[in-house]
């Protein structure tokens, strides 16, 4: 029985030690190197007794960052990925929540770490990866391990402006990786082209199947996502055959007509998710790669990774939604109506997830956890947790799950999950802003921020840049004398939306 994620690495390194595990196109790391350096890091950290503690990994997107994650796991601790893309204020909020005793950086992030007012221990990857191995200590840690011990903490958007840390244990990740690999039919010949940042659970799709099968992952340099032809050239050079990307990264290629010029001809599997795939874009991908398999994925961070999949088996009309299909093996989905009864076929209900894939909940946020990890209302006989996603869906006439909308003010923008409240909180934190209200124009894919205050839109945007991640920055900023309020004095987003639509129409008619 597998109880620890590193067993994947330990099996594979015996079989294919010299094969490339992770590469960014320039620097490669073989399984033997990953094994050696992660054990060295584990040996260094174990002396600090960090079992079940969060250890922050603040490194550039590079094979070494993944090795650092694994090193943290060798020490029996939970890794917490942080990235230079994150604004300083957000990183500080995360560190405030975690109070981590240890942080690993690399030579390029060391300066940024110094600017964080962080008082715990800081270790440089380049130094600690040379630590002589302490096999007895590592074995003792493994011996005491159980599969409900935490593996990582990743942070998602929180409506109050404070990001929430989702804690996942080994067991839920193993469950997810096994079910996911089976559906995607991954094996040793799999070559991933990794798009997602390392600070999301989304990277599990590449990181652990690579270890499980002895596959290879090419981490794609971030700036290639600006230049579609170069991006396709990268995929072709490294003979990438498997993509698990957010929709906006795939449409960046297809929307510019790139596929008419160059085709990533080695691809055989394209999985996408995190937002709705436009049918037109999917069609041009399928036309360019008629023999490839396309899979739509759906799942929240709180259920470890992806929970549902749909194997694209037919063509869709332009306005027809691509289903999210059915749950992975060993995952249960309940569609609950407002009265907590099961939605009937065709009726909309909230997607609720049950099973081993549920994460442990939010770090140091028991109340927030209890709001969404709740007793299954259909079970009055014994304790059974479900996770309430806040996503609404229905079953179509074929019995496939189809995503409908969100229950609240959470949105998906460029593949990222965002609480509009977090953007408002970011604006409201500025002294010159009296009040701010945010809406999402799903049609144009634009975040629109309305505010009342004593500063220019440009200055507001510049100030938000220090507080919010890039993908949360409003695409449009509108100053108002005062914001419309509802009868119970909340910001009236419905009116804001109407104002936005009205302005849009005026613009179109010149």
């Amino acid at each position: 029985m597998r109880t620890h994620l590193l067993e994947y690495l330990e099996d594979t390194v015996r079989r294919v030690p010299e094969k490339i595990a992770y590469s960014n196109g320039q620097d490669d790391m073989t399984f033997a190197q990953v094994y050696r350096e992660s054990r060295a890091i584990g040996s260094f950290l174990q002396a600090r007794d960090l079992r079940c503690q969060p250890v922050v990994v603040f490194m550039n997107k590079h094979p070494r960052a993944i090795t650092a994650f694994l090193g943290v796991l060798y020490a029996g601790a939970a890794y917490v990925p942080i990235d230079e893309e994150m604004p300083r204020i957000r990183i500080r909020l995360i560190l405030d929540t975690l109070q981590p005793r240890a942080l690993i950086c690399d030579s390029q992030t060391a300066r940024a770490v110094a600017s964080l007012e962080y008082t715990g221990a800081v270790f440089g990857y380049e130094q600690i990866c040379q630590t002589p191995e302490t096999p007895a200590a590592l074995a003792a840690i493994r011996d005491a391990h159980i599969d409900t011990d935490p593996a990582y903490v990743v942070f998602t958007s929180g409506a109050t402006g404070v990001p929430k840390g989702v804690v996942a244990c080994h067991r839920s990740v193993i469950d997810y990786i096994e079910a996911f690999s089976e559906v995607l039919r991954l094996d040793e010949s799999t070559v991933f082209g990794m798009q997602v940042p390392l600070y999301f659970d989304a990277c599990l799709k590449e990181v652990f199947p690579t270890l499980k099968f002895g596959a290879t992952t090419y981490i794609i340099p971030r700036n290639l996502f600006m230049f579609p032809v170069k991006l396709v050239a990268f995929l072709n050079t490294h003979q990438v055959n498997t993509l698990c990307w957010v929709v906006s990264a795939l449409t960046m290629i297809s929307a510019f007509g790139t596929l008419d010029t160059v085709v990533p001809h080695t691809l055989r599997l394209i999985a996408f998710g995190s937002e709705v795939m436009p049918v037109k874009q999917l069609r041009s991908w399928r036309k360019a790669l008629p023999d490839a398999r396309f899979i739509n994925l759906y799942g929240p961070t709180e259920a470890t990774g992806m929970s549902c999949y749909f194997d694209v088996d037919r063509d869709f009309a332009d306005d027809e939604p691509i289903p999210i299909g059915r749950p992975f093996r060993n995952t249960g989905i309940l569609l609950l109506g407002p009265d907590n009864r099961l939605a009937r076929p065709g009726e909309t209900g909230e997607i609720c997830i049950r099973g081993t894939a549920l994460t442990m909940g939010y770090y140091k946020a028991f109340d927030k956890t209890a709001e969404v990890f709740v007793q299954n209302p259909l079970n009055d006989a014994y304790p059974e947790l479900i996770y309430r996603t806040g996503d609404l869906a229905r079953l179509n006439e074929r019995g496939e799950l189809v995503f409908v909308s969100r229950k609240d003010y959470q949105i998906k923008h460029m593949g990222h999950r965002i609480e509009l409240g977090e953007i408002e909180a970011g604006a409201n934190a500025l002294e010159a802003v009296r009040m701010a209200g945010c809406i999402y124009d799903a049609e144009d894919g634009k975040i629109v921020l309305f505010y009342a205050g004593d500063l220019e839109p440009g200055a507001l945007l510049a100030a938000l840049r220090d507080r919010l991640p890039r993908y949360m920055l409003p695409n449009q900023v509108e100053p108002l004398d005062r914001l419309p309020l509802t009868s119970n004095a909340k910001i009236d987003r419905v009116t804001l939306k109407q104002m936005h639509e009205h302005k849009k129409k005026e613009k179109q008619h010149g």
Binding site: F225, M226, M252, F256, E456
Partner: protein
């Protein structure tokens, strides 16, 4: 050129685009910006930038981008 500067300033109000070169090399623009730029240029100038022209050289300065727009509208 003013119209183009207007689009660029909409993305980064804090940057003086008339004076700044190295928009790509120095990381001023990112992938979000490139996608918005291509869409806005299509909207406002009615110029569709083909994938083969979406390369760093064409986006590195406002002037380079202006040249690209002019070249494509001549075709």
């Amino acid at each position: 050129m003013d119209e183009l500067i207007g689009i660029l300033e909409g993305l980064h109000p804090d940057v003086d685009f008339r004076q700044t070169a190295g928009l790509i090399d120095d990381g001023v623009l990112d992938s979000f910006d490139i996608i918005s730029l291509v869409a806005e240029i299509d909207n406002i100038f009615d110029v569709q930038i083909p994938a083969a022209e979406i390369v760093p050289e064409n986006f590195n300065s406002a002037q380079a981008l202006q040249d690209l727009i002019e070249r494509l509208s001549d075709d």
